[in-house]
């Protein structure tokens, strides 16, 4: 098992480096001058410092190396400083945003909780809805429940979040006036009343994202349950006289969950991608909105950092999915 994990870990390091190279080259070889968009109000010495931070004017490989050092060496030092009150990162050049002139990572840290809160909640809600529906749909294949479930899944698959989001805003905010259409991130929960407000403003973004999750996982859950329900061991279990509940909820479910858990892990990054759009619809000032804002403002360091962080998430969860699969299914380990 250890060699399996270390092998997977080793593969992911070159992958990450190549991805960072791709992102870096895309941003730096693009036919426009990155400094042209910096406002004239920025003083020349700051501009000079920004040039240095980016390593502009130097050969590309040095620029790339510097960026790698900033991202993988200096930023973790800042994090350690923050945790243990040390001073490793003193005086070192961090990745600076052109928009706010503050370190990109500081802004990301400020924005992350909103995104995690909405995205994480929607993912959990989506999974909790999808799994029971998937189990029952497969168990009663072609029943009315299954047909309706499959149709709703298809809708969740096909209707993009920027329409479901806007649609629920029209119904619940504009027409009925029940829920706020804008997510207020400054709102803090102190008592029951503020908790209710928080709940109200979270319902729509969470449900919109959860619909996507539900569609995807329900489809998968149903398919693997169907695969397993027709296997010989199920007949054996029934022939032994086990109760239907034990057969389905213990024998079949346990085997069906193996691929489903992998899919759940694999799709975490995709959900973050979908959150970019949902955050834009509900005006959640999370990391997705930061990315869009940075793109509009031509703030390349921020764009580069956030894009790369998404890439890290993808590689990380791919790795996690591989390892979970290896742990749950012994057959995978010995390939």
């Amino acid at each position: 098992m250890l060699s399996f994990i270390s092998r997977r870990l080793l593969i992911s390091i070159p992958t990450l480096i190549i991805i960072s190279l791709v992102i870096f080259l895309l941003l730096n070889l693009a036919p426009n001058d990155p400094m042209a968009q910096v406002p004239l109000t920025v003083p020349p010495e700051v501009k000079q410092k920004m040039r240095e931070a980016l390593g502009l004017g130097q050969p590309l490989y040095i620029q790339f190396l510097k960026w790698l050092i900033q991202f993988f060496w200096i930023e973790p030092q800042v994090f350690i400083d923050y945790l243990f009150d040390t001073s490793f990162s003193e005086g070192k050049q961090r990745v600076i945003s052109w928009q706010t002139r503050s370190p990109v990572m500081d802004i990301i840290v400020q924005r992350m909780p909103q995104t995690l809160w909405v995205v994480g909640m929607s993912y959990v809600v989506g999974i909790l809805i999808a799994i029971p529906i998937g189990i029952y749909s497969a168990y009663k294949q072609y029943s009315v429940f299954d047909q309706v479930g499959t149709f709703v899944t298809m809708i969740g698959y096909s209707v993009p979040p920027f329409f479901t989001g806007v649609f629920v805003i029209v119904i619940f905010s504009v027409q009925l006036g029940w829920l706020p259409s804008i997510y207020d991130t400054t709102h803090s929960v102190v008592d029951w009343e503020t908790f209710k407000i928080q709940l109200k403003q979270m319902v729509m973004p969470v449900m919109v994202l959860a619909l996507q999750t539900t569609a995807m996982i329900n489809r998968f859950m149903r398919a693997t349950m169907l695969d397993n329900l027709n296997q010989d061991y199920v007949r054996t279990a029934r022939a032994k006289g086990l109760s239907e509940w034990t057969v389905v909820m213990i024998h079949v479910l346990r085997n069906s969950m193996i691929p489903v858990i992998t899919v759940i892990a694999l799709n975490v990054p995709a959900i973050f991608g979908g959150a970019i759009i949902t955050e834009q619809v509900f005006k959640v000032n999370g990391i997705g909105q930061q990315l869009i804002g940075a793109i509009y403002a031509n703030d390349l360091p921020t764009v580069q950092t956030i894009t790369f962080m998404f890439a890290v998430l993808i590689v990380l969860f791919n790795l996690l999915a591989d390892i979970i699969y290896g742990i749950l299914d012994p057959r995978i380990r010995y390939d």
């Binding site: 992958t15 190549i18 991805i19 791709v22 992102i23 895309l26 941003l27 693009a30 036919p31 426009n32 298809m154 809708i155 698959y157 096909s158 209707v159 993009p160 920027f162 329409f163 806007v166 649609f167 805003i169 029209v170 504009v174 027409q175 259409s181 990054p269 991608g273 970019i276 759009i277 834009q280 619809v281 990315l291 869009i292 793109i295 509009y296 031509n298 764009v303 956030i306 894009t307 998404f310 890439a311 998430l313 993808i314 590689v315 791919n318």
Partner: protein, 301 residues
């Protein structure tokens, strides 16, 4: 002699079999009908409809549905139905073109990787690498960086079209490549390929004559999903304001414009959203039916 029934029956062609199976999937049939009606409507609709998509009539702005303007008008008095049809034209054209490009890349890489063992490793690593790229952020970045140079080169609308199609094309070929490769790997070992090889057929001809026709079904299924993906991605980009220029209607752009007026005219978001959703839904059903119909194991005799 129960066999005599089969002897007198006419031989069935493969297309006939596929069609019979496809017909039995009601959702797929309905999806196909809806999709082709939408395509037909946006293709010939603008010729029949008296209003132009960009014809500004400021005196009849912000109207609700009427006989003259069945879907109403927008803040500049442009007819929403005309804009919907023009938008659909662009959205579907983007979907089709992006699908064609992504299929081309996908099948090319899939067939090459499957057929030539030497290239397999490197091509599949590239595929894995592309699969680990954060696609939506990268698409947004591409829009940001290449918008101006391409607009200068080809004009604002055509440049954007090229940019969106190419960006979607090169970020969505990976699933096709994987499926095609797997099929080619299996096909390569079959006797008819061996026979072709033994009779001195060149690799190119083997691929074109013997491999390609046999991997057509997974490619066709990817094609349907590719159109859906293209339409959704284009709409998402336009919705985020990074797609086509503002006066150039696409479904995503119309939805984006409608969101600005969501408090005053909430019904405006409905039509473009419905159009995107209905198109994608019908394509997905079509793809589902096609997958079942093209899979010989699913076909009931």
């Amino acid at each position: 002699m129960t066999d005599s029934y089969n002897i007198t029956a006419k031989p069935r062609s493969k297309i006939r079999d596929v069609w019979d199976q496809f017909k039995s999937h009601k959702g797929a049939l309905l999806g196909a009908i809806i999709f082709f009606s939408i395509v037909l409507l946006v293709m010939i609709g603008p010729f029949l409809w008296p209003f132009d998509a960009n014809q500004i009539d400021i005196r009849s702005r912000n109207q609700g549905p009427s006989l003259l303007h069945p879907f109403g008008t927008d803040q500049l008095g442009r007819d929403t139905l005309a804009r919907m049809m023009a938008g659909g034209r662009t959205s579907i054209a983007v979907g089709l073109a992006a699908m064609a490009l992504s299929l081309f890349f996908g099948s090319f890489i899939g067939v090459t990787a499957g057929f030539y063992k030497k290239l397999d490793g490197i091509l599949m690593r590239i595929t894995d690498l592309f699969l680990s790229l954060p696609l939506l952020p990268l698409l947004l970045v591409m829009m940001l960086l290449f918008r101006e140079p391409l607009s200068e080169a080809y004009g604002p609308e055509r440049g954007m079209f090229v940019l969106i199609v190419v960006s979607i094309g090169i970020t969505s070929w990976m699933p096709t490549a994987r499926i095609v490769r797997a099929d080619v790997l299996a096909l390569k070992e079959r006797e008819f390929v061996l026979a072709a090889k033994a009779s001195g057929t060149s690799d190119t001809l083997i691929i074109l004559r013997h491999i390609m026709p046999n991997v057509l079904s997974p490619i066709m299924v990817s094609a349907t999903l590719g159109i859906a993906n293209g339409i959704i991605t284009e709409s998402a980009l336009s919705f985020l304001g990074l797609g086509f220029p503002p006066d150039f209607p696409t479904w995503g752009r119309l939805l984006n414009d409608a969101v600005d007026y969501i408090q005053q005219y909430p019904e405006r978001v409905f039509w473009p959203g419905l159009a995107i959703s209905l198109t994608v839904l019908s394509i997905n059903y079509l793809g589902d039916g096609l997958r079942d119909a093209l899979d010989p194991r699913m076909r009931k005799r």
